[in-house]
Symmetry: C2
Subunit: 345 residues, 2 copies
DNA sequence: ATGAAAGCGCTAACAT
DNA sequence: ATGTTAGCGCTTTCAT
């Protein structure tokens, strides 16, 4: 590879010191009283030789990489990719690059990824964690590595977080269903369930059902292993269908579950909403225009992205200071569409 | 921040040289004949002190950052996020981190992002480019910076690329339509159209139409500005509808156009496929289970990801050698579903 | 208004 | 089988 021009090349070819060049590059020339002509000389030479600063060297020297890491379970899930996109845009404005890692819900992989990012000297991490406890983040706290938990969090955590009101989301969903005359309500959820979002959504479901005096029929609680989602959903719904034991409605706890439930229903030629209704946690664009359109709980995706990035930057820019632990819990909204309109009061 | 332990700390506390420690860390100890006991001593001390290598320093020293950049127009578009996910998984196996950049189809932003990534000393770039010409990549070639074009490419380019057969895709689509008795065929495309994918898809459309002796009615060619996609689609389809001039079918040239076309049709209560049919370029999961399901041209997303990563790694690992320019053009497939089945022969 | 020199953490060529 | 040394490109402290 052709030797790249460095700050020394500029300095030598101009007969000045590299300090001076560095000052000019970093806009500290005026502050240090470098004459305008010298500055111009340097700038000209820089563009003449096509000099570009080596940010790796700079980061190494200053201890600041201007890189942040984002860890999610799957970047190809629209929920996460939209958050990432929001963060990326904000990061770009601030001169940060964004490294992404998908855990695939594997908490061991996630631990490695956190280490990996730390070794890369990222300035901070935004993470939707699959950990079972927050020991990993206690550690980050001790190492004073800025980080923000998003989507999923831990009880009594000492880390900043931006989450949404999962409990309330389920409450909205179930209240809506019951108010519209549904009685036989099924739940499609994920297992293992140590993740806070799913736990809170399940809790909201159970509590609200009980409040209304509804029995929770265990045969309608479908626990889907995340690593075998497609098959398992198909298998379990098919079984219920064959035994003539479908509920009136399925409440699906994330967009993946919703999509795959719809897929199975289509395969089985079970009509929505005539034979079964559906309401999903997390909204997607296509829910608007399917036949029927799909009722869903909408999460403020952009807000999650923006708030988490702001929290992270705050920590990065005040690494010495002891900042208060901020936790946002953002509101969700119920978007009623056609998939839950078949039962008459 | 508490001073992090470095290689010197290990060396000093053990009374050995940092070279030795470095050799052990990099698995070169045996090669250099370091005794097993010394190796163990070093390893023990490393875990005792919780030493972690500073990869920034390492990258700075070796000139290899073990980072690759991926540039796409929008990471939140499922087509790209799936490619990125595939690449990310492969990169992780090889010890590379992945920096993502969304251009939002802004070729100036893209140029800045390329510079940005180069300044960060990424080892290579995989890019779905929005450039008007390949000057940017000629430059990368001169700088010997490994890169692979995906999805979109340039004529007579000297860069490796992994694309799909866009022309053929349109051919498949139009042949399918015409063979099923469609006559009045509309096209929904993107403008400005300097992008190779769109250009080839349009070309395939026009050529195939002509082959079959079909007239191309300009009022059915909807050119949608990418930066105002939602509104523009709604506006243009509404206009056609109001003037009672809808075609029998719309061929939409990417997944965004397909989704937003479906959205508009739903808003206007235009029934698919009774009042209009639709066939889309690029397949999405939900196309399987909407009512009707949506006919689409499927692109081999995983293959694009894998092949492009392999090409990039090859370049990175043989940076000195002059490698042949490889260009893959992967096949597409037509997936016939219910949205194009209304016309009887 | 500018320069000299040290050093960030690591690797690698060269000694011994 | 292990140590010495130089240096990657940059910032920063201290001189002048």
């Amino acid at each position: 590879m052709a030797k790249k021009v460095s700050i020394v090349d500029i300095a030598n070819s101009l007969g000045v010191s590299k300090t001076l060049v560095s000052l000019v590059i970093n806009n500290k020339a005026n502050e240090y009283g470098i004459s305008n002509e010298t500055q111009k000389k340097v700038l000209d030479k820089i563009s003449e030789l096509g000099y570009r600063p080596n940010n790796l060297a700079r980061g190494f020297r200053t201890g600041k990489s201007n890189t942040i890491g984002i860890i999610v379970s799957d970047i190809s899930n629209r929920f996460y990719s939209r958050i990432v996109r929001t963060i990326e845009d904000k990061a770009w404005e601030k001169g940060y690059s964004v490294v992404i890692c998908s855990t695939n819900e594997d908490y061991n992989k996630e631990r490695e990824q956190i280490k990996f990012l730390c070794d890369k000297q990222v300035d901070g991490i935004i993470i939707s964690s699959s950990q079972k406890d927050d020991s990993q983040f206690q550690e980050l706290n001790q190492l004073k590595i800025p980080h923000v938990l998003i989507d999923r969090k831990f009880d009594n955590s000492n880390s900043c977080s931006v989450t949404i009101d999962n409990y309330k989301g389920s409450e909205l969903a179930i209240n809506h269903l019951i108010n519209h005359g549904y009685n036989r309500i099924g739940l499609i959820t994920i297992t293992p369930l140590h993740i806070s979002t799913i736990r809170d959504r399940e809790l909201g479901f159970c509590d609200t059902m009980k409040e209304h005096g509804k029995v929770i029929d265990q045969s309608w609680i479908l626990k889907i292993p995340f690593n075998n989602l497609e098959e398992s959903i198909e298998h379990k719904i098919t079984k219920l269908y064959k035994s003539n034991n479908l509920p009136e409605v399925f409440f699906t706890l994330n967009n993946n579950l919703t999509s795959n439930t719809l897929l199975t229903l289509k395969k089985l030629k079970i009509d929505v909403p005539d034979q079964i209704s559906i309401i999903g946690f997390d909204d997607l664009l296509y829910f608007n225009f399917t036949q029927p359109s799909i009722t869903a709980i909408n999460q403020p995706v952009m807000d999650i992205g923006e708030k988490s990035f702001n929290l992270l930057i705050e920590q990065i820019e005040h690494k010495n200071k002891k900042l208060p632990i901020k936790s946002y819990q953002l509101p969700v909204e119920l978007i009623v569409r056609e998939s839950t309109k078949n039962i008459k009061l």
